[in-house]
């Protein structure tokens, strides 16, 4: 033990004889270890963000959504999910706990002179829990609202802000088309969730207005006519989405197959798409593993480069200190004493680099925020073109990356130190003593 301690002290002393050389070598390992921790943290951050988005769809849910088919596939007969589909699903599949019919249309909302274009969502009371909407004020829609087809609405946070920037919206009325709806509730802001039906665009809930779906059917019907200067578009569809909740996570995948078959039987056009968040979660898990593996590989390369730096320096040191080796051998040092001295020296280099690297890695979160802020200032255009996920990613320190990085840095020191040390030990003491 004492021998090791002395050897370590001796090696620190020798390394301090060449401060610049030693610190440059340390820098190589520092960068390697730092990049291991950073890249793992970034991978974890991106993976977690993606998983959170998917998980916010609900792992027990299956989402079936209307997709507008290409125009040559349909004429005037309408398309998409129907009320009949909805009824068939809930009556024939026993593993489905709940099914929510949803219809979404683009609308202009007005409160006197204020207006905005947003999404009118016809839905049922369970919609709030299934899509995890939180109430800020008032209440959400109820079963009675649906049964009585009441003219009520609930505003998303942003919608409320647009129409009622200064007053309390509860009890006020908003105008949608020719109809008036009384505001009974306002929601808290909600983060966008992952895209549905294979699209990568996240679903945004910020400009929504929710009304009972029964009211929507009675007042709006199934026909959508969009007229804009130069275009006239007519859409006929009954439901835009059915969100189904399966009774048990185990049954999700099997149920999804049954649902697909059930709906396909009645649809000749490809006018619906299915999203199974659980499937996406599993995919995301695989993607994340690959991502971490890939980033780890890059980090490993930089560590190897750092290790080669150590080896290079140690080889130079051995040549330079041939005489010292000869003296030590003449004074009774065994080969393994020489090996130990040089291996310890390279391990000290790599461990110091590793410790600084860990320090740099632990502060990756504030550092990355600072770097991103600086990039925004310097290249705002480029930053805004980046995908959302990359722009907002928060690195999450992976707890095992710190001991891993440390172990790797010790390993690099040993692996890349052994060869130069062996060379040193193999020197003939007589030759080494004669060396100038």
């Amino acid at each position: 033990m004492a021998t090791w301690f002395r050897t370590i002290r001796l090696s620190i002393k020798s390394l301090l004889l060449h401060p610049l050389r030693s610190s440059l070598t340390v820098l190589g390992i520092f960068i390697g270890v730092c990049s291991v921790i950073w890249l793992l943290a970034l991978g974890e951050g991106i993976g977690t963000a993606a998983q959170e988005q998917i998980a916010s769809l609900g792992a027990q849910n299956i989402i079936v959504r209307t997709i507008k088919p290409s125009s040559d596939e349909f004429e005037d007969g309408g398309y998409g999910l129907t009320r009949a589909d909805y009824v068939r699903l809930i009556t024939t599949i026993p593993t489905i706990d709940e099914a929510l019919p949803i219809r979404e249309v683009g609308r202009e909302f007005r409160n006197q002179t204020r207006y905005f274009e947003g999404r009118l969502v016809g839905c049922s009371p369970e919609y709030a829990t299934v899509t995890r909407l939180d109430l800020d004020r008032g209440r959400f829609l109820t079963g009675v609202d649906l049964k009585q087809e009441r003219n009520l609405c609930v505003l998303a946070a942003e919608s409320a802000q647009r129409l009622f920037p200064f007053e309390n919206p509860l009890g006020e009325s908003i105008m949608v088309g020719r109809n008036f709806y009384t505001v009974v509730g306002v929601l808290k802001p909600r983060a966008p969730s992952a895209g549905i039906g294979g699209s990568f665009a996240a679903e945004d809930y910020s400009l929504d207005v929710y009304i009972p779906i029964t009211t929507m059917w009675r007042r709006d019907g199934d026909m959508e006519i969009v007229t804009k200067p130069g275009t006239f578009q007519r859409d006929l569809f009954e439901l835009s989405q059915i969100t189904l909740r399966v009774d048990d996570r185990e049954n999700v995948l099997a149920t999804a197959d049954v649902i697909r078959d059930t709906i396909s039987a009645d649809h000749t056009m490809r006018d619906f798409g299915m999203t199974v968040p659980l499937e996406l979660l599993q995919q995301a898990h695989t993607t994340r593993l690959m991502f971490i593996l890939f980033l780890g590989l890059i980090a490993a390369i930089s560590l190897v480069v750092g290790g080669i730096g150590i080896m290079n320096i140690m080889l130079a040191t051995v040549t330079e200190r041939t005489r010292e080796i000869g003296i030590r051998r003449a004074l009774g040092a065994k080969r393994r004493d020489i090996v130990r001295q040089f291996v310890v020296e390279s391990v000290v280099l790599s461990v110091v680099g590793g410790l600084f690297g860990i320090l740099g890695g632990v502060f990756c979160r504030p550092l990355s925020v600072a770097i991103r802020g600086e990039l925004y200032r310097q290249f705002p255009k480029m930053m805004n073109d980046l995908p959302e996920l990359i722009r907002t990613v928060e690195p999450i320190l992976v707890s095992w990356s710190v001991p891993l990085a440390f172990a790797i840095s010790v390993g690099v020191g040993v692996v890349f130190g052994v060869y130069p040390a062996m060379r040193a030990a193999q020197l003939d003491p007589i030759e080494a003593l004669r060396h100038e």
Partner: protein, 219 residues
């Protein structure tokens, strides 16, 4: 004892059959022109090298049969080296230089540390303990080297031209020191080509072309 080298495809017979005995407590000088095999003999005597044939018995142990580790151990515990060019480690202070052999004999302890200080005092350097070798004169450096050679208390001291780089005054001082060590009972072998050094020893062996030319005892 013989030693052969293979040098550039030719076999060099550096030592061509010599035989001598060194009784404990003797003080011997080995002389000879360059190329006479002095250095080779010294390397073998110092257990840095092994004879090609014949045997070298060090207190009855055959050095030719020793492994590399055993040689190193023998160097560490039974032999003290003094070199012409001092061979101190430039990065270490005087005390640390004296301590180095202790690392390799495994005898390092507080008592041994005290002995380092005593040795430094004996060679007259107790006021320069923290100096680096480069800050010392040649004579002082050689005295550090002598102190270093004594730290493991070897019975046998080998000196390779210990005064080769020194002026006559310091040479005298170093020779006095070696004589003192010999009078304490240590066996000393000095390789030199200065006859004034040889005259201070008890016995001179002269080598030429790898053979013993002359072996005479002084009074």
């Amino acid at each position: 004892m013989r030693k052969e080298y293979s040098l550039g495809g030719e076999t060099v017979h550096a030592i061509q059959g010599i035989s001598f005995e060194v009784p404990v407590g003797d003080y011997i000088s080995i002389m000879g022109p360059s190329g006479s095999g002095k250095s080779t003999l010294l390397n073998i005597l110092g257990c840095l090298d092994r004879p090609t044939s014949g045997s070298y018995l060090l207190s009855g142990d055959d050095v030719r049969q020793m492994s590399d580790d055993q040689l190193a151990e023998t160097r560490a515990t039974r032999i003290g080296f003094v070199f012409q060019s001092y061979n101190l480690l430039p990065a270490l202070s005087v005390v640390e230089n004296i301590e180095v052999p202790l690392y390799y004999s495994g005898k390092i302890s507080a008592a041994r540390r005290t002995r380092c200080l005593e040795l430094a005092e004996m060679v007259g350097l107790s006021d320069r303990l923290a100096h680096r070798p480069a800050q010392l004169s040649g004579g002082q450096q050689q005295r550090v080297a002598i102190a270093r050679s004594l730290v493991n208390d070897p019975r046998f001291i080998l000196a390779d031209e210990p005064t080769g780089n020194l002026d006559s005054t310091t040479t005298g001082e170093i020779l006095d020191l070696m004589q003192q060590l010999n009078s304490e009972g240590r066996t000393i072998i000095v390789v030199t080509h200065e006859s004034e050094v040889a005259e201070r020893t008890k016995r001179s062996i002269v080598l030429r072309d790898g053979k013993i030319m002359d072996d005479k005892r002084h009074m």
